[in-house]
Structure formats: structure tokens, C-alpha cells
């Protein structure tokens, strides 16, 4: 785990939240600003899009570096292939498009051209999860984690806020190999400090607690922190971990949670099957002794109904209240009986 200096270790006492929630921001802004900065210092950096100039917020990049901006049109298989060829030719491509199309339509290219080939291509899946709300399940990307995490060699990152989006972009730039970054358009509160450094395979400890462990990523992290506050008021101390690094994954953090807390709740904006909760379940079932009970919050095996992103998150219980309820069910309420 990445442990902030204020928190010594797993053995530390329950404490006030280390990270508090700041103003909301759209992670795409951090993404596009960082990409412009990276391009300014590294002539290899280029962008490939599928007509998605505005939805990826790359107008600024296109204006500043038109010679390093490739728009392949509405053609995702070609987009990922072109990224692979650019990497072969010594460039460092960020291939950006709506996550629903980028992953699903180009899945074989992601598997073969990126994962199997180990191409130095960074996939930026924008507006992931249910961010496109009312546009419906065609435009939702609730499956992308299950799909991408099973591809060998592919690093998978789900940033929690703007600072972590910037950190993940800088990590992607500095580290060789294929990656998938899942970047939401749902405005999220700022959590991590400016200048945060992304570490692969490391959970970020946001709050210490020994009753229950809350593991979340993406837009669910701030909700997990809110849940922890509510639980604290009920006398339940929750450890909150930001699991932004889906692959590699912080197995020791899961085993530490299994040893040090009485239950684990995972929360993610995607299918329960194959996602964050699924990974934790695999680790608990195969590696932990006396694994504590686990609750996985996410979408069941359904396509979402019509509604805004906010409505849909609430519909599926992906809220602070949903996390509180699951936690109480697992470890019980410590409130004195009336």
C-alpha cells in the first residue's frame, strides 16, 4: 500500500480521514492538459482519435500539435492498429476514444496488437462506466474492466480524481508497455493532492480503520470516503483503499484487509462479474486464510435502464448509503442499543 506519512502502518489506530473531499472536477480536463504538457517535453507523444475530438477534450492538443494528431475517423480497429504502428515507428501514441467503442470494437487489436505484442501504446477509454447515462447501454462501458484485465501484459488503471488522472498519465508516459486508462466524465470531488505519484500495483490508503475495509476505484472512491464518515458516526471504523491499479493489483493489501478487518466491501462503476470485486474474491478464495465476508457492489448481470449517470449509480446502490448498508450488514452496528 501507499501509506501517507500521517498513517504509520496497518497496525495504526483508527484516525480521522487523511484525505478530505475537495471541489468536483472532470477528469478529462486533467487528462487533456497533461497530454499537452507531455507532448511539449517529448516529441514522441502523439494522439490518435476516432472523430472524438471534443468528447476527449483534445481540441487544445490538436491546435497546438496538429502534426502529432491523427484522426482516423469512426474506425476503432484501425485506430488501435495505427497506434501500434506509430509505436513501432518510435512514437508514443495515446489512443483516445469513448471507452465503450475503444474496447468493444477493437478488442482483438487490444489483445493481439497491444497485449501480445507488448506495444508501447496507451489506450485512454473516455467516459467509461455509465457516464453517458441516458444515451443507454450501447454507450455505457460497464464491461471494459472485465475485458481488459484478462489480457496479459496490459496494465489497467482506473483513476479516482483529477490529480490521479494526471499521475496515471505521467506514469503511462514514463513506463514502457501497453496500458488502458479508464477516464470518467462524471465530475468527481478531488481527493488526492496535486503532484500525487501513481504507483502500479499499490492500493492507496485513504483512511485507516479496523472494522471493515472499503475498496473502490474511479467515481466510487469519494463515495467510499463519505461512507467511511457515516460509518464512523455509527462507531464503525472503515479502512478505505483506492484500488486504481487494477493490473497489476495489490494482493498484499487484500490479504492485510483479510487479516486486519472483519469484512470487505468493494464498489465500482461496472459489472460485478470480472471487475474489482471479482479480483478481490479470487484473491480471498485462493490466497487468504479465514477470509472475512465480502460484498461486491456493482452492476448485476443486466443492462442499465434509462437515466442520468447519477440516477443510475443510485439505482444500483453505488452510493455512500449503499456502501454503508453493505458494511453494516457485514460487521453489524456498533451503536449502543436504544
Amino acid at each position: 500500500m501507499v501509506t501517507p506519512p500521517e498513517i504509520a502502518a496497518e497496525e495504526s489506530q483508527p484516525s480521522a480521514p487523511t484525505y478530505t473531499l475537495g471541489p468536483k472536477a472532470d477528469c478529462r480536463d486533467a487528462f487533456s492538459q497533461t497530454l499537452v504538457e507531455l507532448a511539449g517535453s517529448d516529441p514522441r507523444v502523439c494522439a490518435v482519435v476516432n472523430d472524438s475530438v471534443s468528447s476527449t477534450k483534445l481540441k487544445g492538443f490538436m491546435g497546438k500539435y496538429p502534426e502529432r494528431f491523427v484522426n482516423v475517423g469512426i474506425a476503432e480497429q484501425n485506430m488501435v492498429g495505427v497506434g501500434t504502428g506509430l509505436a513501432n515507428g518510435g512514437m508514443l501514441p495515446f489512443v483516445c476514444g469513448a471507452s465503450c467503442f475503444l474496447t468493444a470494437r477493437a478488442m482483438e487489436q487490444v489483445k493481439v496488437d497491444l497485449g501480445y505484442t507488448r506495444s508501447n501504446v496507451k489506450l485512454c477509454g473516455m467516459s467509461s462506466g455509465m457516464a453517458y447515462g441516458q444515451l443507454g447501454p450501447t454507450h455505457h462501458s460497464i464491461e471494459d474492466i472485465a475485458w481488459t484485465r484478462v489480457i496479459p501484459n496490459l496494465t489497467v488503471i482506473v483513476p479516482a480524481d483529477a490529480a490521479e488522472t494526471e499521475a496515471a498519465m505521467r506514469f503511462a508516459h514514463a513506463t514502457d508497455g501497453p496500458m488502458f486508462l479508464r477516464i470518467s466524465r462524471v465530475p468527481v470531488p478531488s481527493i488526492l493532492p496535486k503532484g500525487h505519484v501513481f504507483e502500479p500495483g499499490k492500493a492507496v490508503l485513504l483512511r485507516e480503520g479496523h472494522d471493515v475495509t472499503l475498496m473502490a476505484n474511479g467515481v466510487l472512491v469519494s463515495r467510499a470516503l463519505e461512507a467511511a464518515n457515516a460509518l464512523a458516526a455509527m462507531g464503525i471504523e472503515a479502512r478505505v483503499l483506492n484500488m486504481s491499479s487494477i493490473k497489476p493489483f495489490d494482493e498484499p493489501a487484500v490479504l492485510a484487509a483479510a487479516r486486519g478487518t472483519r469484512g470487505i466491501v468493494t464498489a465500482e462503476e461496472g459489472l460485478r462479474a470480472g471487475g474489482l470485486g471479482g479480483i478481490v474474491a479470487e484473491i480471498l478464495a485462493t490466497k487468504a486464510r479465514n477470509a472475512p465476508p465480502l460484498r461486491i457492489l456493482g452492476l448485476p448481470d443486466v443492462f442499465a435502464p434509462t437515466g442520468t449517470a447519477e440516477f443510475l449509480l443510485e439505482h444500483f446502490g453505488l452510493t455512500a448509503k449503499g456502501i454503508v448498508d453493505a458494511s453494516v450488514e457485514l460487521v453489524g452496528s456498533k451503536l449502543p442499543a436504544r
Binding site: 480497429q77 484501425n78 488501435v80 501500434t84 513501432n88 515507428g89 493481439v112
Partner: protein
């Protein structure tokens, strides 16, 4: 992207094909008859590899051998001592199932020992049934599923334009392979970016795994398809090494346009019992058939 990037860097040529002592190409490749013989050695080696592995894609190996001999016998600017030389020409075998022929050409050019060819598809061999660039020097792309090579080649060609480099990118596709829609996505982007450093070679042997292409999904008029997608197109005899050498050396056909060379070939070329036989898509030759092939090709394997 702005497509007309001025050329700022001149390549330092790594030397001709004969500069490498390990190369079986010996500098006489300007002679079409010698190239033809080298192509037949690729054929004979690929068939021997398929015989060894009891698995392979004989028909396509034989149709593509002349193209490979001409490319690796002098057209491609490469340095086997530095397989990742940044300014090398790129060659992508999009029809990755014809790996045996590619491996042979790479070994003949000196990228690795010809003895390695005897491990084709053996357990833990570097020579997969389909090429893997992480295992073998000289391989540019991991291909096998069809329709991947051209999009990657477009990326290679755009990279050269972005960097102001003069390398050329060649990609060899099957004809049945062009039924994959990703090729046409890539073709549209190639014309949009005026990739005159991109040369698509179609191995037009008119057969795919199950049947003739025209009985499956009709490809004709194939040249017109490429023309309307913005390519400069020529149709040539894909077994005429002199013509191949002239056209491939001289590409692009037209400044400002990507090039498509439709190489009319015969699947199973050079071996009477395999020519034009759908069953020889992945037919495996017996020892007796190998001897007959060697007589007809007047060639021995390079291993």
C-alpha cells in the same frame, strides 16, 4: 496531422544485402533468375518446415515466396545486425499464417541461423505457427488474425511522416483477408494522410481456406476497389521476380498516394500437386511429396 512533412533526415544505409556475411543473398539478386532460385529455396524450406511440424500453410507460403525473395533479396533497407535500426524499412506479413516462408526469408537475410528453422512449431520454439516479434528478430508485427497488418502499417507510415524519415512500409496481405473490414478502415486513412511511403502488396492467389475467393465473397473488381479508396494501383505477375523487383524498388507509383500492388499469384506455385488446390491451404507434404517438390523446384532447403 499535416501530411506533407519535409524530409529532414537522410538515412545512413547499413549496407547492401551482401554486407552481412551470414546472408544467403549474396549480392547477385539483381539477376531475376537467381532471385527465382532463392524464391524456390524459400518454397522448399517452408514445405520442409511444414513436413517437420505436421502443420502449416503450404499453399500461401508458396504463393508469397517470390514477393518475399525480392523484398528480402535487396528491396528492403535492413540491418540484420541491428534488427531495430530505427530507420529500417518495415515489412509486415499481414497474412501471418505464412510464417514459414517469412522465417525462411529472415534467416536467409541473416537475422538468425538457418538451423533455427528446424524448430518450426516445436515445443517452446521461437518459431510459432504465427510470427511473434518478441521472440524473433526481424519480425515487425504479431499477426495471425487477419486484417491487422494494414492498420499497423498505416501507423508505421504516419510515424515516418511525423518524424521526417524516409523509410518505406510494405505490407503483404492475402486476398481473402481483404474480407476483413479493418483493411478498408485503414485504406481510407492511408489516402487521407497521403501515405506515399506505404506499399500494400496483395497476394492475389484467388483462394482462401475453404474455397476460391470468388465463390466465397467476391473480391473483383479488386483493383478498382483500391483505386476508389485513393490508392495508385498496378497489377503484376506475382511470380515474375524481375517485374516484382522493378515495381517494389520504384514504389510509390504516384507521389502523394499510397501504392497497392496486386500480385497475381498461384496458391501452391511451383509444386504441381499443390497448385490451385484448396486442400493445400494447410496441406502437409509427405516425404515422397517433398522429394517430388524438390525435383520440380530444383531447389534444396536452406537449413
Amino acid at each position: 496531422m499535416q501530411s506533407e512533412v519535409p524530409v529532414t533526415t537522410q538515412r545512413q544505409s547499413p549496407g547492401g544485402v551482401s554486407a552481412n556475411a551470414n546472408s544467403l543473398f549474396d549480392g547477385r539478386e539483381g539477376d531475376p533468375a537467381i532471385l527465382k532460385h532463392l524464391a524456390n529455396r524459400i518454397r522448399m524450406t517452408a514445405m520442409s518446415m511444414t513436413n517437420h511440424a505436421h502443420l502449416g500453410h503450404t499453399g500461401g507460403d508458396l504463393s508469397a515466396s517470390d514477393v518475399l525473395a525480392v523484398l528480402y533479396g535487396g528491396v528492403l533497407q535492413l540491418d540484420p545486425q541491428q534488427p531495430n535500426w530505427p530507420q529500417r524499412d518495415r515489412f509486415l506479413l499481414s497474412k501471418g499464417h505464412c510464417a514459414a516462408a517469412l522465417y525462411t526469408a529472415l534467416a536467409m537475410r541473416g537475422f538468425f541461423e538457418t538451423a533455427l528453422l528446424r524448430t518450426f512449431m516445436d515445443p517452446l520454439s521461437k518459431l510459432n505457427g504465427h510470427p511473434d516479434r518478441n521472440k524473433l528478430p526481424g519480425v515487425e508485427a504479431n499477426t495471425g488474425p487477419l486484417g491487422h497488418g494494414l492498420p499497423i502499417a498505416v501507423g508505421c507510415a504516419i510515424a515516418a511522416k511525423m518524424r521526417g524519415e524516409t523509410w518505406r512500409t510494405f505490407v503483404l496481405t492475402g486476398d481473402g483477408e481483404l474480407q476483413e473490414g479493418s483493411n478498408w478502415e485503414a485504406a481510407m486513412s492511408a489516402q487521407q494522410y497521403k501515405l506515399d511511403n506505404l506499399i500494400v502488396i496483395v497476394d492475389r492467389n484467388r483462394l482462401q481456406q475453404g474455397d476460391f475467393t470468388e465463390n466465397t465473397i467476391r473480391m473483383e473488381p479488386l483493383a478498382d476497389k483500391w483505386r476508389t479508396f485513393g490508392f495508385a494501383v498496378t497489377e503484376i505477375d506475382g511470380h515474375n521476380t524481375a517485374t516484382l523487383r522493378e515495381v517494389l524498388s520504384g514504389a510509390p507509383l504516384e507521389v502523394g498516394k499510397p501504392t497497392c500492388i496486386i500480385a497475381n499469384t498461384i496458391k501452391g506455385k511451383g509444386v504441381s500437386f499443390a497448385e490451385n488446390q484448396p486442400a493445400w491451404h494447410h496441406g502437409v507434404p509427405t516425404e515422397e511429396q517433398l522429394r517430388k517438390a524438390a525435383e520440380e523446384l530444383e531447389a534444396e532447403p536452406v537449413w
